[in-house]
Amino acid sequence: MDYRLELRNVSKSFGEVQALENINFQLGQNEIVGLLGDNGAGKSTLIKIITGYYQPTSGEIYFNGQKVDHLTVPKARKMGVETVYQERALAELQTLWRNIFLGRELCNSMGFLDIQRMKDETHRLMTQSMGFTSHAISPDSRVGKYSGGEKQGVAIVRALFFDAEIIVLDEPTMGLSLKESAKLVNFVKGIKQAGKSAIFIDHNIFHVYNVADRVVVIDRGRVAGEFLTKSIGVSDLMDKMVHVAETGILD
């Protein structure tokens, strides 16, 4: 069976800086892959290549075995990639419904917005998926005044709404309370149950270990190693991570 997503020999440099070097990365059907690595290891760059935000300097990207050239954000979204970015990618002065439909507004062939339908959908998502019951939150309220957890909820629900096949979560628990983080981990397990795939990046190794089928360790722009979570204990993994961070090699 083809991989849901595969990167072959992907490199990315920004001027002199080599951010990624010959990355080979696979994401299987219905697989949750955890991406681990120290700050500046290249995790976010890798993510932004998968979401089409950055173009790789060299290398190839395959979706379901099909090579895709010049991946852009709209193209990646069409392929079913949805992302919850570390920086949340919200427009804080705008209303909730505009944020939910950011970048893919529902509109007719002339480009005129179907505002009523976007508000209806937002209201439904709010009450059913986000569990927002606060009166301060409505499709017409501004996202800027929400709490950190609520903002993250918006970013996650937005990724789910559009029938994603691959959900990328870049540091989704950052700034969340303990309870909100637990909710998020459950949500990632839900992705697995729904038969979809996900790439999960987190500083918290326990979060990753709990939900991932496989863990890929990135260090200094290279894949330093990968493990199936069922064949390695969390403390072993932790030791290896520290070792990699210090020496750049796995063993």
């Binding site: 979401t51 089409g52 935000y53 852009t72 954000v73 709209p74 979204r77 992302t83 970015y85 920086e87 949340r88 990618a89 919200l90 427009a91 804080e92 002065l93 705008q94 505009r98 950011l102 970048g103 893919r104 507004e105 529902l106 509109c107 480009g111 005129f112 917005l113 505002i115 009523q116 508000k119 209806d120 959908e121 937002t122 209201h123 439904r124 409505s138 499709p139 017409d140 501004r142 800027g144 005044k145 559009f162 029938d163």
Partner: protein, 346 residues
């Protein structure tokens, strides 16, 4: 994607409708209500202190013939500012549009039909304006230079081009008066209602629709609010901003046509003196210089406040020396009001 939405949402048969709340309405529309308040207050002050002037229809006819020349450019400038950009070159674009107009008129002399010639020249002027706006946009987006800096440069560049191309000469456009375009652009309906006011209303409505009901406007707000988020979510912020600059170029050329037709004369300095009025209208109307917020209606009202102050100071019996002082006072106080309202609304 769309079919998917319907499948998973059979229960959304009833529309989401928020119960009307006066408090929420005032909060979401605070900027527009604020400037409306200023507008009405000033109007009442004008009427009370100079009833003879402000209760007669002539003054309004005068306002409606002079204010649209800059108000019409304040509308697309609002869109540029919402996208967190700035354009200082539009007064020069007014001039360049008219240069394109007169060059095309001269070059098509062989046609021998003034109406056709003027029609072609109008198209040339609008085209020139759009192209100059496009060039502004390209420089700003492709080289990543702040628009304030770029348009300081292009403002000189295009004014210089006007002077070089016309050799600094001014000339009459009397021939336009025999064409249908003269009454169409600057005629008076029923001898009272100026056509330039009609054009201002038309452009205001079109831009309002595009800003509030079209994908383009949605992308303008998102680009100005957080360009990084907009790009991560797949919005082509470069193209969106270039379009905004093209629109102000197009409308500036049109404003240049309106003014030149109105006086039936071309001055190479056309547009000088409109820069600050136009910008003041936008900021008076509550559009934030930080991008992401602003309204067309606010700008529309702002332009009429700006346009009325001069006549009002004189009518009230103050000398013309007071005009700038009052201008400044109203602008500063309004901007303070908007900042306060915005903070409360967040």
């Amino acid at each position: 994607m769309n079919s998917e939405v319907n499948e998973t949402t059979p229960e959304v048969s009833q529309h989401y409708k928020e119960a009307f709340s006066f408090r929420r309405f005032t909060r979401t529309n605070s900027a527009q209500l604020g400037i409306l308040g200023v507008f009405v207050t000033l109007w009442i002050i004008f009427i009370v202190s100079a009833p003879n002037t402000f209760l007669s229809p002539q003054i309004y006819s005068a306002f409606m013939s002079s204010i649209p020349f800059f108000a019409i450019m304040a509308i697309p400038l609002t869109i540029v500012v919402i996208a967190k950009e700035m354009d200082l070159s539009f007064p020069s674009i007014m001039g360049m549009g008219m240069v394109a107009f007169s060059f095309t008129y001269d070059a098509t002399a062989f046609i021998g039909n003034t109406t056709i010639q003027v029609g072609l020249s109008i198209i040339a002027a609008l085209l020139a304006g759009s192209i100059i706006g496009w060039i502004n946009g390209i420089i700003i987006v492709k080289f990543g230079i702040p628009s304030l800096v770029v348009t300081i440069g292009t403002q000189f560049l295009w004014r210089g081009a006007v002077l070089v191309l016309t050799q600094g000469r001014n000339f009459t456009l009397d021939y336009i008066k025999q064409t249908i375009f003269y009454p169409m652009l600057v005629g008076k309906i029923g001898g009272y209602f100026p056509m330039q006011m009609v054009w201002l209303i038309v452009i205001t409505v079109i831009f309002w629709v595009f800003l509030n009901r079209h994908k383009f406007g949605a992308h303008i707000y998102l680009t100005g609010d957080n360009i990084n988020s907009a790009e991560l979510m797949g919005i082509n912020t470069g193209r969106t901003r270039i379009k905004a600059f093209m629109l102000i170029g197009l409308v500036s050329a049109f404003a240049g046509l309106l003014y030149s037709f109105y006086v039936a004369y071309f001055w190479p300095s056309l547009g000088d003196g409109y820069l600050l009025n136009t910008m003041a209208s936008v900021f008076l109307g509550g559009t934030s210089v930080f991008g992401g917020t602003g309204t067309i209606l606010g700008t529309f009202l702002g332009a009429f406040i700006i346009g009325a102050i001069e006549a009002a100071t004189v009518a009230i019996g103050l000398t013309g020396f007071w005009t700038q002082l009052i201008y400044g006072l109203i602008i500063v106080l309004s901007v303070i009001m908007h900042t306060y309202l915005r903070k409360r609304g967040e």
